[in-house]
């Protein structure tokens, strides 16, 4: 029992996170920045932060991840990191020749009080930013929020590029939230099918799920361009998918550029996808195309074919707020019971929303979203009330093994399986894939555990 040091009795904790269900802001900013065309993310802090984020993203995507670091020393920590960042910007543009450098801070540079806009302005004035190239930024103090907050902050950094010319471009901005490259592809596909011309940002498709080409490209094809980001200020509207990851940027465009926004859930599962498709359809002023209706029908078909196996199966989930909200709604809609839900990303609104989504269930769901909402607590909950399935990132595998509960890997990070780079979980197609994975986990377990007499060939 790997987690044999976890007691069943739950005691109040005040000062501690054990086996976290979150990480810190900068990695979110780095992931978001990778969704910009020709962008070098830059970590303004110690070397370690950057190395950790690159390693974590590399393990998740199995792709090379490049990012610069300001390589703070004791001197920089006393006198400020301006000289480091100026030199870094100069070096990066000279050697690696990206189109964009996206700088994010760390706990170190935030606490010292480095002023990013001022430093970037200085770099520009000193000619360290070549003509036609850009530097974006986001403040991502590691001691506030979580990786989700960092993602949101960098997306807002992208929104700051938007300009309003007064002439609408007829496009819709879609902010997809922290989803996989395959999900971003799927969102583009759905929008194209419905006939909506979109600007998607960030867009990591093509960048973090590229082919083996025989070359190592620091900046693979793909990503939202600066021209597109600029034009986002002239769009007719913004759809933000997810309150935690995307809404800030959308509201910024609403206030600053008068681009009206709507915040939707990430389209995971039937109902959230319905709302997304409906929103696109209304914007395009068309009815839902046959192809999309067909996909929806296939999803409903699979749910009906297999609904007896979903019935009242208990699920424990760990992950990020936007994803969990959509997933909990999906589970409830197919008659599964989310009984324990944790996210390390703080937010009272999250707890309220989960309670609202599960209000009709015949039990009160255990949900927590703060410092002590970690995998240690989730494990204790599971020990006290066992479940049939675990849904979340790779770190759930310890609980899965110790308690002998099947698990489906979903979310970030996935360090021990593949597929998330290539197959979406958003949209109707994505929901089909999720169901397939959930069913396989449940039925594999049934096949393993059923007594000989009731072992079934046909299911």
């Amino acid at each position: 029992m790997l987690l044999r040091h976890t007691p069943k009795e739950i005691s109040e904790r005040h000062a501690l996170t054990i086996n976290p269900a979150k990480t810190c802001q900068p990695i979110g900013a780095m992931y978001a920045a990778l969704g910009i065309n020709g962008c070098m993310p830059h970590s303004h802090g110690s070397q370690g932060c950057c190395a950790y984020h690159r390693s974590a993203l590399t393990r998740h995507y199995k792709e090379p991840i490049s990012a610069g670091t300001s390589s703070f020393t004791e001197g920089a920590s006393v006198f400020g990191g301006q000289a480091n960042l100026l030199q870094a910007i100069d070096n990066i543009f000279t050697i690696y020749e990206p189109e964009v450098v996206a700088v994010h801070t760390t706990c170190l540079s935030e606490t010292i009080g480095d002023d990013l806009p001022q430093i970037i302005d200085k770099a520009t004035k000193e000619g360290k930013v070549p003509k036609g190239k850009h530097v974006l930024y986001a403040n991502t103090p590691s001691y506030v929020g979580s990786h989700v907050t960092g993602f949101s902050n960098m997306v807002k950094g992208m929104a700051r590029v938007a300009e309003s010319t007064g002439h609408k471009n007829g496009k819709v901005n879609i902010i997809p939230g922290w989803v996989e490259p395959a999900d971003m592809e799927e969102i583009k596909r759905l929008a194209a099918l419905i006939g909506v011309d979109i600007i998607l940002f960030p867009d990591t498709s093509g960048i973090l799920n590229g082919p083996l080409s025989g070359e190592y490209k620091m900046f693979p094809e793909g990503g939202v361009t600066i021209a597109q980001l600029r034009s986002a200020g002239d769009s007719i509207g913004t759809l933000a998918l997810g309150e935690w990851c995307s809404a800030d940027a959308a509201r910024f465009l609403d206030t600053n550029n008068k681009v009206p926004c709507r915040v939707l859930d990430i389209p995971i599962g039937l109902k959230a996808t319905d709302r997304f498709v409906d929103a696109l359809r209304i914007i395009a002023g068309v009815s839902v195309p046959e192809e999309v209706t067909h996909e929806r029908g296939q999803l409903v078909d699979m749910i009906s074919d297999m609904h007896q196996y979903f019935f009242q199966k208990k699920v424990a989930l760990a992950g990020d707020p936007d994803q969990l909200i959509a997933m909990v709604e999906f589970l409830v809609s197919i008659d599964m019971w989310p009984v324990h839900v944790v996210t390390g990303t703080p937010g009272k609104a999250f707890v309220a929303r989960i309670k609202e989504l599960t209000a009709d269930l015949p039990f009160e769901v255990n949900v927590k979203a703060d410092q002590q909402a970690d995998m240690f607590l989730l494990h204790q909950w599971v020990k006290n009330e066992p479940v049939d399935l675990l849904l979340g990132n790779t770190y759930l595998k310890y609980i899965s093994r110790d308690e002998d509960i099947p698990m489906v890997r979903w979310g970030f990070p996935i360090l021990d399986r593949v597929g998330h780079q290539y197959f979406p979980t958003v949209g109707y197609k994505g929901a089909l894939r999720l169901l397939e994975k959930i069913l396989s986990a449940l039925l594999d377990r049934k096949d393993r555990d059923d007594p000989e007499q009731s072992f079934e060939l046909v299911m």
Binding site: L3, H5, L16, N19, M40, Y52, S213
Partner: protein, 456 residues
């Protein structure tokens, strides 16, 4: 190609075989903006101490430092698994403003009674260095309250690179050494320093030494235990592998307790045998020497036939290696030689001047020696030197694969024990599996002509 290397970094490269005398610049700060493969002080401390399985490892800082180091590599334990948990004070904004000492105290007071660790290591992070929490004082009081050593690890990330972290870890461990009883430790006894039991290596080495009649007192730190560290000063000799990480502890122990040390490497058949002979020689024991010779003979006989078979396929293939510390590179070069392979590129993140000089002296002419390389530089040389297998760590793996080059993780993510004689065979098997993989035939670099037509 030349412009892929920073002008300022030119002297961090050297190609052997020319008429220039050896010169490389190293042990210097990475340039700001460079995509360095290096990490920080905290990282260095964490990797060294983490395998001590019955200690509590509490990270005092924002959550990231704990999240990114949560069980990311093998550190096999034959007993407790407490080290595989991630404990963090998860500092928030108010802590940064008002200080985190109270939180740290409460965290220790909660964790120590519940988990009953034999000692606690409290890691400092960047932010703690800035806000000025008095870690020493908090730890001292916790030691008094709980009756176990609570040891601060002064590993603020910005205070240097990984090497500085190794040093901080050694200083922390040195606080334990000398606090335990040494009765019953036989004269022929050693501590194993600088092996982390990523995939069970330390068990292999212990077994070899035991067969020679040598007792191992403390594993430092693979499958490590606090009680062993406390009595480590009772051992007659320190065997130091991976010189970067634990050499300082060996030096401290020599200074205070007069414990001599030997630098050894267990990678590759040559160096493994040499290590055992050096130990026997140190103890001036004819019996131990004979047993070592028997052992080497037996173990080589076990692996030799298979090794010969693998070598047949690998003869003449080209390797590149980019590792954390340069010392490992020496052994790897010899191991590749045993497989009949040529090393075209050898580099490290944190090598010293002496390391690189030695590296250059054992490499064949035409080998590129690099310090603190970035991905583009690595790619340039991998292609130019037409390499078949690249040995590196997590960040290098996908680069090799994108180029269509085989890869062996000799760092955190190794899955097979690569030390000892059995480790030499495992290494050969892994190199063979990747170098000979059929997948490369489908990649542009090695594509068969008929496949190219399909692709076209």
């Amino acid at each position: 190609m030349s412009r892929l290397i920073f002008e300022e970094r030119k002297d961090q490269f050297f190609e052997t075989g020319g008429d220039k005398p050896f010169r490389i610049s190293c042990d210097k700060q990475s340039l700001a903006g460079a995509v360095s493969q290096r990490a920080c002080v905290f990282c260095g401390s964490r990797v060294v101490l983490y395998p001590i399985a019955d200690a509590l490892h509490l990270i005092h800082g924002p959550i990231g430092c704990a999240s990114y180091t949560w069980d990311i590599r093998g550190a096999l334990s034959s007993g407790p698994e407490l080290h595989r948990y991630s404990f963090s004070t998860d500092l928030g904004e108010t802590d940064v403003i008002f200080g985190g000492e109270g939180k740290l105290t409460r965290a220790l007071d909660e964790l120590i009674p519940r988990h009953q660790p034999k000692a606690a290591f409290v890691y400092s992070t960047c932010i703690v260095g800035l806000i000025g929490d008095d870690l020493q004082a908090v730890c001292k009081k916790a030691t008094e309250r709980h009756g176990i050593p609570v040891i601060p690890v002064m590993s603020e990330g910005f205070k240097g690179n990984k090497r500085a972290g190794y040093y901080a870890a050694c200083k922390a461990m040195f606080q334990l050494v000398g606090t335990g009883a040494t009765e019953g430790i036989p004269p022929m006894s050693v501590n194993l320093l600088g092996d982390f039991n990523l995939a069970g290596e330390i068990w292999i080495i212990r077994e070899y030494l035991e067969r020679m009649g040598v007792t191992v007192v403390a594993n430092i730190t693979g499958d490590g235990r606090v009680a062993d560290l406390r009595r480590a000063h009772g051992a007659a000799l320190n065997l130091v592998q991976c010189s970067g990480s634990t050499m300082e502890l060996a030096k401290m122990m020599q200074g205070t307790y007069g414990t001599p040390f030997l630098r050894v490497s267990y990678l590759g058949a040559d160096d493994m045998a040499q290590a055992l002979y050096d130990v026997a020689e140190f103890f001036q024991s004819q019996t131990a020497m004979e047993k070592a010779q028997d052992l080497v003979r037996e173990e080589l006989a076990k692996i030799y036939p298979r090794l010969k078979r693998l070598r047949k396929d690998l003869e003449g293939k080209r390797a590149a290696l980019y590792v954390g510390g340069a010392f490992k590179a020496f052994s790897l070069i010899k191991a590749f030689r045993l497989l009949g392979m040529k090393v075209m590129l050898a580099g490290s993140q944190t090598g010293t001047q002496e390391d690189y000089e030695e590296l250059a002296s054992i490499c064949e002419p035409g080998t590129v020696i690099v310090d603190d390389a970035n991905p583009l530089e690595l790619m340039t040389y991998l292609i130019e030197k037409d390499v078949d297998v690249f040995v590196g760590g997590v960040k290098e793996r996908p680069i090799a694969y994108k180029l269509g080059i085989g890869f062996c993780d000799h760092n955190h993510e190794r899955k097979l024990a690569l030390e000892g004689f059995v480790g030499m065979l495992n290494f050969a098997e892994e190199i063979h599996a990747t170098a000979m993989s059929p997948v490369w035939r489908f990649t542009p670099r090695r594509a068969l002509p008929e496949l190219e037509e399909v692709a076209a």
